[in-house]
Amino acid sequence: MSALDLTLRGQAAAIAAGDADPGELLEAALARIEQRNPAVNAIVETFPEHSRAMLAAAPAGPLHGVPVVIKDEWPLPWRAQRFGAAEMFKPTAPGESGPFRALRDAGAVIVGVANMHELGSSSTGNVSVYGPARNPWNTERCPGGSSSGPAAAVAARLVAGAVGADGIGSIRFPAAYCGLTGLKPTFSRSAMAGHHMAAISTTIVSGPLCADAADCRLLASALFAEALAPGDAAGLRIGVVRDTVSEDVAPEVREACEAAIEALRAETGGEVREIELADIEPAALATVLIANTEGLGGVSPERLNQLSPDLGPINRGFLKYRMLLPAAASVQAYRIRTLMRHRLAAAFDEVDVIAWPTVPAVAPPLEAPVVEIPSGMLTADQANVRGAGLANLTGIPSASVPVGLSSDQMPIALQLQAAWGRDELLLDAAEALERANGRRWVDALAPLAQAEATEA
């Protein structure tokens, strides 16, 4: 087995022990990207000389010599971000972003920039100026968005860790669709400097996408600039909400998530409690309104009349439509934010985590990203935002963990949410769930990675 097939922490440990050569690992990662990436379009640019220079200068940090990728959402010293789009509203330039510095200071080596949904505007990942990334579990399916490339890269085992961003579920959706563990950290806990919305956004955070929770802990520790200590989640109090987020979901998703919740309870010796959490759907809309209006400063009609013709038609239309959103709705959105923050604070007096499916159905086709759930056929974005927006709206951390495969062999995921600053607990709970499942789902390889691993 190539060292590249080890976990992120396994690669770091092998290098630290002298069992793996970081130079060879970097070249192996570049070769694998060249070999596998055409099928998934996860990586939109590599820069071997810059990667080799990073390795040559890498400090003896916890990720020394480990290859990783970063979403096309932050600048690098040698490359401006493109946000998956033909143009952005604000000028971009190369630079040292917060995530870049965090990775560099931990000793990691950035081997590529990962694809993303155009302007970060969808949960599907099916639109990008680079062409869509593809799901390694089925390359005709959506990889999830907007961190489509980071997820596809890890699921195809091009690298073991990737940095994404989550403004309305954009780490958790692709983690769910691609069978990975993804962490949306507590607001402002992870590195964000250099993001074009860093000074404005109250919803976006950077975070890790990896195969499992321990790898997410390692990569998040770099992004947080603090070591996240492991715990055992003993006696975990798991909150469940009987609402659309847990009930208006595809039957096999519901079944897998309910089984996972019971397995987590048993593994931790904890308990499951039903809790009340009203207004989740208005909260999702509030998240969309806030996330889409925070960046409107400086967006003039004149600027909108000069949009690049190469921008996708949905974003062209939506960027203009945003100007018509009523201010009164934004005021209501901020009130909903306050309301839900207080409701969550009260809920977290009663439970340690709240669990519901990350997405209500498995990854839909790239060509037609709609899902069928009990209430009918919905666009994936409509269906997905309901369960993901709350964490961005309120600032709480949230993780998506794989808990099964559908009848058509696509990943199913459970979302865990905890109180502000309890990111570590989410990872503890995710690890407990891995133990309960015998690591069955976190060790499952996507067919694309599996077939080529066998050939190698």
Partner: protein, 67 residues
């Protein structure tokens, strides 16, 4: 009035008032977006949240301060 008719009126009128240009594709996307968003926005506006005062400069990394 049909939702689609409302979009037919609202979107072009809103764009025109702001001086934003739109082609047929833009209008089709905005019409679909409007049909998707507007009922939910109306529901949101109808919620009685008068007793909820938004937090002043909330620190989203922490729980809200309790009364």
């Amino acid at each position: 009035m049909e939702e689609s008719n409302r979009a037919d009126d609202f979107v072009p009128a809103g764009l025109a008032s702001l001086g934003i240009e739109a082609d047929e594709v833009d209008l089709a996307v905005m019409g679909a977006t409007h049909q998707l968003f507007w009922p939910a926005i109306r529901d949101l506006l109808a919620l009685d949240l008068g007793e909820v005062a938004p937090e002043r400069c909330p620190d989203l990394s922490r729980a809200p301060e309790r009364a």
